[in-house]
């Protein structure tokens, strides 16, 4: 290594020479060079003692990493569905049309500021909403300053019950949060045994808020049944387009999450805790890290080792077994289940993986009691749910509602109905792993599990309202294309099925589809849903299936 490289990669050299340093190492060289250069890869290969092709394969499994030097200051234009509904396509055109050769326009998948679109990011700084002029200004060398995003959190509306969001907007330093009772839930939990604390959570009926709604207490009990050492992994990847709840919690009330993860650590008697945080969520990362530092300094960690790991893109990185592979330093592809992570997770040890929002519910369960927690929501699914509402509504933003609240209440009472007085023609619920709901289904109660035979699901709580500014067929194709782009490529049905589904939908849109297109799409749907390795592939056909269920006419229009 040349001297200049040695100094350039100083951050790399400081990392432990273990495979688990893989992603931090790749971040370090990408930060140093502005891209993942061959010289940087050679340094990582040497430092971590990983053969170069194996390393290259691992690096190439993260789609936020760039393998070519940037051709100018990168301006990333979010082309998530919500931003497209807010005019992102035109924005990208406008920036390109400026002819500014010092910038490079990159159309990227969701940047998770869905309520504020269209969104542009320059060097991890966000302009939202953006236009061509503010975007180009932000990219000027001397003008690259932090641009503050508009507030996502609005004033409390009638349909809301704010528990997790109770203190968003208030000061979030440790001193302030302790005044309002933070860490009292942790004290209560620590006053009992881990087993007893697990029983409390089981009794509360809390279910996982990442989208699967699996009973948290049962998951903990399963992990506790296996010999330690155990690990806790906090899934803060939040890579689903249209969802921005975990980020918001971490940015605005990080101690709530830290308290929650410490309760979980105590209950399952975990030896170490990893927070796996989206690679783009810099504000959340810095808020969380400060909170951990504060908690540590105040002696609140109780000897627990809490480490923040940053992802590097990829919807599939939110899949829990991918997080395990990623932390261990392997390719970001799903593992085979069984065994489940509670039995054999990180480094083969029992591992509980909980979502940020799930953990944020814990302090109040221990402070205010199980009964209080169960006082809202339904008997089966008690508590509240954070809803990331975006798209064609008057008041997009983050809301907290009791589980079981109707979709209509969310759209109308909270969202204020269609934007600009336009009609809401449909919503996408559950993002690219969910589907479309027509107005006739707006009275459905928002609960975990399937909302609709067509495929829509509450999932992580992302709801995107659709008006007539984009053709429905294009929305379905957009979601299918997203799933094709995000397929990790490991299993055949998803890798081969998703692009074919995208292509067929595109052919329908352009009037070039074969006569048996729907039959082929149905066959792909069945193969992907029944045979794929992980949830991404198993649910990748749902946008199509929901359109076929509720909007058949938009699909049949384009047959040859």
């Amino acid at each position: 290594m040349t001297t200049s490289a040695a100094s350039r990669y100083r951050a790399l050299e400081a990392l432990p020479r273990e495979r688990t340093s893989m992603l931090p190492a790749l971040h370090a060289i990408a930060e140093a060079d502005g891209w993942v250069s061959p010289e940087g890869l050679a340094a990582v290969s040497r430092h971590l003692r990983v053969p170069n092709s194996e390393l290259y394969g691992i690096a190439r499994s993260y789609n936020e990493l760039r393998f070519e030097p940037p051709g100018g200051t990168p301006i990333e234009v979010c082309t998530g569905l919500s931003c497209r509904l807010a005019g992102a396509d035109a924005l990208a055109e406008d920036i390109r049309a400026s002819g500014d050769s010092t910038v490079e326009v990159r159309e990227v998948a969701c940047r998770f500021r869905c309520a504020e679109g269209p969104v542009v990011s320059v060097a991890h700084r966000y302009i939202a909403p953006a236009d061509a002029s503010t975007a180009l200004t932000a990219a000027e060398p001397r003008r690259r300053r932090r641009t503050h995003a508009k507030r996502t959190v609005r004033r409390v509306r009638r349909a809301e019950v704010r528990r997790l969001m109770a203190h968003l907007g208030a000061p979030s330093d440790l001193e302030s949060v302790r005044v309002r009772g933070a860490y009292a839930g942790l004290d209560a939990a620590r006053a009992m045994t881990g087993e007893a604390a697990t029983e409390v959570v089981a009794a509360s009926g809390l279910r996982g808020r990442g989208g699967a709604y699996f009973p948290t207490g049962v998951k903990w009990q399963s992990a506790r049944a296996f010999e330690g050492p155990r690990y806790l992994v906090v899934n803060a990847e939040e890579g689903e387009p249209g969802v921005f709840k975990d980020r918001t919690l971490l940015e605005r009330d990080p101690h709530l999450v830290v308290e929650g993860l410490l309760i979980a650590t105590h209950a399952i008697e975990a030896e170490r805790c990893f927070v796996y945080l989206n690679g783009e969520a810099d504000a959340a990362a810095s808020a969380l890290s400060s909170a951990i530092d504060e908690a540590s300094a105040a002696g609140l960690l109780g000897g627990t080792d809490v480490e923040v790991r940053r992802g590097a893109g990829g919807y599939v990185c939110g899949e829990e077994s991918v997080i395990l592979s990623s932390i261990e330093g392997e390719r970001a592809v799903p593992r085979l289940k069984p065994p489940l992570p509670v039995e054999r997770g990180l480094w083969g040890r029992p591992t509980v993986i909980n979502n940020v929002e799930t953990l944020a519910n814990l302090p109040s369960i221990f402070l205010d009691g199980v009964e209080s927690f169960r006082s809202v929501g339904t008997a089966e699914q008690p508590g509240t749910k954070l809803i990331s509402l975006s798209g064609a509504v008057a008041r997009p933003g983050l809301y907290e509602v009791p589980l079981g609240t109707t979709l209509r209440a969310v759209l109308e009472d909270l969202g204020g109905g269609g934007r600009g007085g336009h009609e809401i023609r449909a919503v996408v619920a559950g993002g690219p792993s969910g589907g479309l709901l027509p107005p006739s289904r707006f009275d459905v109660a928002l609960l975990g599990g399937s909302l609709d035979p067509g495929g829509a699901a509450l999932g992580a709580g992302g709801i995107v309202a659709i008006d007539d500014s984009m053709p429905l067929l294009e929305i379905v194709r957009h979601l299918a294309a997203y799933n094709a782009a995000e397929s990790c490529g490991k299993c055949t049905p998803c890798r081969e099925g998703t692009p074919r589904m995208r292509n067929l939908l595109g052919e329908i849109a352009s009037g070039e589809a074969p006569a048996d297109a729907l039959e082929l799409l149905d066959a792909l749907d069945e193969a992907m849903s029944s045979a794929s390795l992980c949830g991404l592939g198993q649910m990748a056909a749902l946008p199509y299936r929901s359109a076929r269920t509720h909007f058949l006419e938009v699909l049949t229009g384009g047959m040859r």
């Binding site: 040497r46 003692r49 053969p51 390393l55 290259y56 599939v316 397929s487 299993c491 055949t492």
Partner: protein, 917 residues
């Protein structure tokens, strides 16, 4: 895991209504295959963990939603599994159809999938999207992405089996493909052409070049290259030609791994250059002769020179070949002057270990490398010379977190994995090892109990270390004192389990080779890293049967089984063989040439050795050979030594005969005949026995002592006289082979020596001192140090590997590794020609400019590639204790061919042959 340990319970389930019993731990796929049902399983290798990628082994399980993949679904008692069903068939058919859409219609991949396609009625429902990239860059195999279904088995083989990591799945989704670092051609990657990927590819996207003919039979045998002892399956076509070489997962030494030489390098056995008839020199020319003519002539001549005769055995031949030869030499020729190439590789190790431990063999098993917490590799480029052991080392490091210490003047591949890389100046190993020992002593890391109970002479040894402080040793060796401390601590107190030390020629091929070995053994003894799991001392044996050749008695100072030449032992063999045996120690190989040069030796019988390439200072050895009255050479190819022979006898290769090899972990393994003998060639032991009968007749001795009818009879006789092999017979070698000592037929063999005792009683420490680094050191005229050794793609002298197409194409020219600083000084460019000159000769090679060698050192393999070999240059000076030549250090200079060389004036040209200077 798909296999359960023995004696676990079985469980019963039904597959398509039929009851199937499998061991607990089995998967549903195991049960399906055990019960004779069928599901496709494109990504599941029989011997590897499931990948779950192809999604074609789907099943229905009663009471379970959906269609789980059976390859990673645990079988449970009472489970009811169906492999067919309307919806299931439909899903599987669509998945197979998508798979078929990945490959080029009409190609190898499509043809490999045709059976499943037909079975499930699959047909072109989805448009094909085959990748069209063909990587044809290596001579061994091609990678055609148009036939690839991305099952991932090749990557599993490369990364998880071999731990090489030359190929990977690159990118995601539809862009995913098999490729190398930066998508460079395979030939420019770190791929070593081990062929594991080729062997596991289900669609022949990875396929050998040229494509082998259909297999008529596969014969399981043992690889004939290095001492690892890998199991190989030789696939033979209907014409009796050797085609593909399959790995053998059931072989415990190689566990299904092979290297490029074993996989692609065995084609030499049917190379057109093979010797096919006996040859007799008439009027200075070797002419074809009959076996009778040749053997009668040899018998006449050897009888004539009885008393002035010596023989070289071959470490490439079988135990049986070796046993028969030494019996002939001792019993009929009346001399113990028999030796083999161990003299040139591990005689110092054997010398030191025999004295201190009672045996010169590796004390542990390869399994101990798997379990060790610390692995110290000294003077061995394991990745080149014992590639499968290197794979096991990498696996221990990757998967179990073992720590690696590399000691080598050259940066080798394993350094990429090392915690400590100690790079001493050539010839300073004694100081370094003593320095390590000094740290162990000073930091109270000595295993007191072991030293007290198992060793002697510790105090004198401890006192001898006084001068070897890390700082002082840093001055001598150039190795930083802190690294010496760190490595010593790591070796003495590994993070878990024990420590193994492995070494190669870098320790032994010095004038202080035996001292080096003593110093290593001292270190192992003082830390107690011996006899317990995960510990041990391992001189890695070079030739496939160098262990066995010594075991069988082809050494001048011992009868078979390391039984000394004393009266009792001689009496036992005299009774067994019915002859009187010589009591005087015979000549060692290097002494044979010295005596021949002086005219004191008149006849030699050289089998499977090529001293005129392997001896140091070849020109000198050539003169010695020229002075013999009679030289008979028995080999498979014409070589530098046959060129000087009076009679040449064509022997068979390992592929054409039955027998046994004993590998580096003392495992006796079967060698089985796979092809017909080439031409009139015969197995070595048969030739020697035939010759012996003719000699016996002339000496009026009984011929019945050389009348075996097959190799197993030879083995049985050897076992009956050799306690360490006493319990072994061919019948017992059908499975995994047996590790000696194995004294009785019910003895399981011995994976690890010295658990309780040493045969020498208490193991003595032997204090050794650092002397001058080498006999010949650089000066103004010869400013560089030449280090010699081996490379992955060639075997020793290269006689064999230059006749294996793939190996020769991978490395056709002699590489000369030069540090950039020295290359710049001599105006030599990477890839350009370079001349290397020593006081004894010169060679021309291809410059490889690399910082893997230290400034002031160059490295040249001793294989003869093209016209040249390193031993034209090396120095014929010897370790006084073991008589090994100092191959590792001599003084040379380099020059650009044609460039003015101030030292060249008045000197002739030629490849060697000049004395002194």
């Amino acid at each position: 895991m798909t296999t359960a340990p023995e004696a676990t319970r079985t469980l019963a389930l039904t597959i398509d209504g039929a009851r199937v019993e499998v061991p607990a731990g089995a998967t549903v796929l195991d049960a399906i295959l055990a019960g004779g049902s069928h599901v496709p399983h494109l990504c599941k290798d029989d011997d590897q963990e499931p990948l779950g990628a192809c999604r074609t082994c789907l099943v229905e399980v009663e009471g379970v939603r959906g269609f789980p993949a059976s390859c990673y679904l645990a079988a449970t008692d009472g489970m009811a599994v169906r492999t067919r069903g309307e919806a299931l068939d439909r899903v599987r058919t669509n998945v197979l159809d998508l798979t078929l859409g990945m490959v080029e219609p009409g190609g190898r991949g499509a043809s490999a999938l045709a059976g499943e396609a037909e079975r499930y009625g699959v047909g072109g429902r989805f448009a094909a999207r085959a990748e069209r990239h063909l990587d044809d860059s290596t001579p061994a195999f091609s990678l055609n992405l148009a036939d690839c279904i991305l099952c991932g088995r090749c990557v599993q083989g490369c990364q998880d089996v071999q731990h090489i990591g030359a190929i990977a799945v690159l990118g995601g989704g539809e862009a995913a493909h098999i490729g190398t670092h930066l998508d460079e051609p395979l030939v420019d990657s770190i791929c070593t052409s081990c062929g594991t990927c080729v062997s596991v590819c289900p669609t022949q996207a990875l396929s050998p070049k040229p494509e082998p003919a259909p297999v008529a039979q596969e014969v399981s045998t043992t690889c004939g290259y290095c001492g690892v002892g890998c199991g190989v399956g030789l696939q033979i076509d209907a014409d009796g030609r050797l085609g593909w070489v399959e790995d053998r997962p059931d072989n415990p030494s190689s566990q299904g791994m092979l290297c490029v030489k074993g996989r692609f390098g065995l084609t030499f056995v049917q190379h057109e250059d093979r010797l096919t008839t006996p040859l007799i020199r008439r009027n200075g020319v070797l002419e074809e002769a009959t076996w009778d003519e040749a053997l009668d002539l040899v018998a006449d001549k050897l009888v004539e020179h009885r008393g002035s005769f010596a023989a070289l055995a071959s470490a490439k031949a079988t135990n049986e070949d070796a046993y028969v030869l030494q019996k002939f030499v001792r019993g009929l020729m009346g001399t113990n002057s028999i030796d083999h190439c161990t003299r040139l590789c591990h005689s110092p190790s054997v010398e030191a270990m025999l004295m201190q431990l009672g045996s010169g063999a590796t004390s542990n098993s390869y399994e101990d490398y798997d379990n060790a917490g610390c692995l110290m590799v000294v003077g061995s480029d394991t990745s080149s010379n014992h590639p499968v052991i290197a794979s096991r080392l990498r696996r221990a490091i990757d998967e179990r977190g073992a720590q690696l210490i590399v000691v080598n003047p050259k940066r080798i591949e394993l350094c990429d994995y090392a915690t400590y890389f100690l790079q001493p100046q050539p010839g300073t190993d004694v100081a370094l090892f003593n320095g390590l020992a000094k740290v162990v002593l000073d930091e109270a890391l000595v295993d007191e109990a072991f030293v007290r109970d198992r060793t002697r002479d510790f105090e004198a040894f401890a006192a001898s270390l006084e001068e070897y402080t890390p700082e002082r040793v840093e001055e001598i060796t150039g190795v930083p004192a802190d690294d010496i401390r760190g490595a010593a601590r790591l070796y003495a107190r590994p993070p878990f389990s024990g420590s193994c030390v492995l070494w190669g020629m870098g320790v032994t091929q010095h004038t202080c080779g035996t001292d080096n070995a003593h110093a290593l053994v001292n270190l192992a003894l003082m830390t107690g890293q011996m006899g317990k799991p995960g510990s041990g001392v391992s001189p890695l044996r070079g030739q496939n049967n160098v262990q066995g050749c010594g075991d069988a008695g082809c050494i001048p100072d011992n009868l078979p089984g390391y039984q000394g030449l004393g009266d009792t032992n001689r009496a036992k063999f005299e009774a067994g063989w019915g002859v009187e045996l010589p009591s005087e120690q015979g000549l060692r190989a290097t002494e044979m040439f010295e005596l021949a040069a002086e005219g004191g030796l008149r006849a030699m019988y050289v089998t499977g050795e090529n001293p005129l390439l392997s001896e140091p200072y070849i020109a000198h050895a050539e003169e010695a050979i020229e002075r013999l009255d009679f030289l008979v050479v028995q080999d498979i190819f014409p070589n530098e030594t046959t060129a000087h022979a009076d009679v040449v006898l064509p022997a068979t290769s390992f592929a054409e005969k039955d027998g046994t090899f004993t590998n580096s972990e003392r495992r006796v393994q079967r060698v089985r005949k796979a092809i017909a003998p080439v031409g009139q060639s015969r197995p070595d032991w048969e030739i020697t026995a035939d010759l012996a009968r003719r000699v016996a007749k002339r000496l009026e001795l009984s011929q019945s002592q050389f009348a075996w009818t097959d190799a197993s009879e030879v083995f049985d006789e050897m076992a009956s006289l050799t306690p360490i092999l006493g319990g072994i017979s061919y019948g017992r070698l059908e499975g995994a082979g047996i590790q000696w000592p194995c004294p009785t037929p019910d003895h399981p063999g011995t994976p690890r020596l010295y658990g309780e005792t040493f045969s020498v009683g208490r193991a003595p420490f032997v204090a050794v001192e650092q002397g001058p680094p080498a006999a010949e050191l650089p000066n103004r005229r010869f400013p560089l140090i030449l280090n010699t050794g081996r490379v992955l793609y060639h075997w020793h002298g290269g006689t064999i590997t230059t006749r294996a197409r793939v190996l020769n194409e991978r490395m056709p020219e002699l590489p000369v590794a030069i540090h950039p600083r020295d290359a710049a000084k001599a105006d030599i460019e990477d890839g350009g020609d370079v001349e290397v000159l020593s006081r004894r000769g010169q060679l021309t090679g291809k410059a490889v400019v690399t910082d893997a060698v230290q400034p002031g050192s160059i490295f040249v393999p001793f294989a003869r590639l093209g016209e040249f070999s390193a031993n034209y240059l090396t120095n014929a000076v010897y370790d006084p204790k073991s008589r090994i030549p100092e191959y590792k250090v001599c003084a040379v200079r380099i020059a650009k061919p044609g460039a003015p060389d101030t030292w060249r004036r008045g000197r002739g040209s030629g490849r060697g042959g000049r004395r002194g200077g």
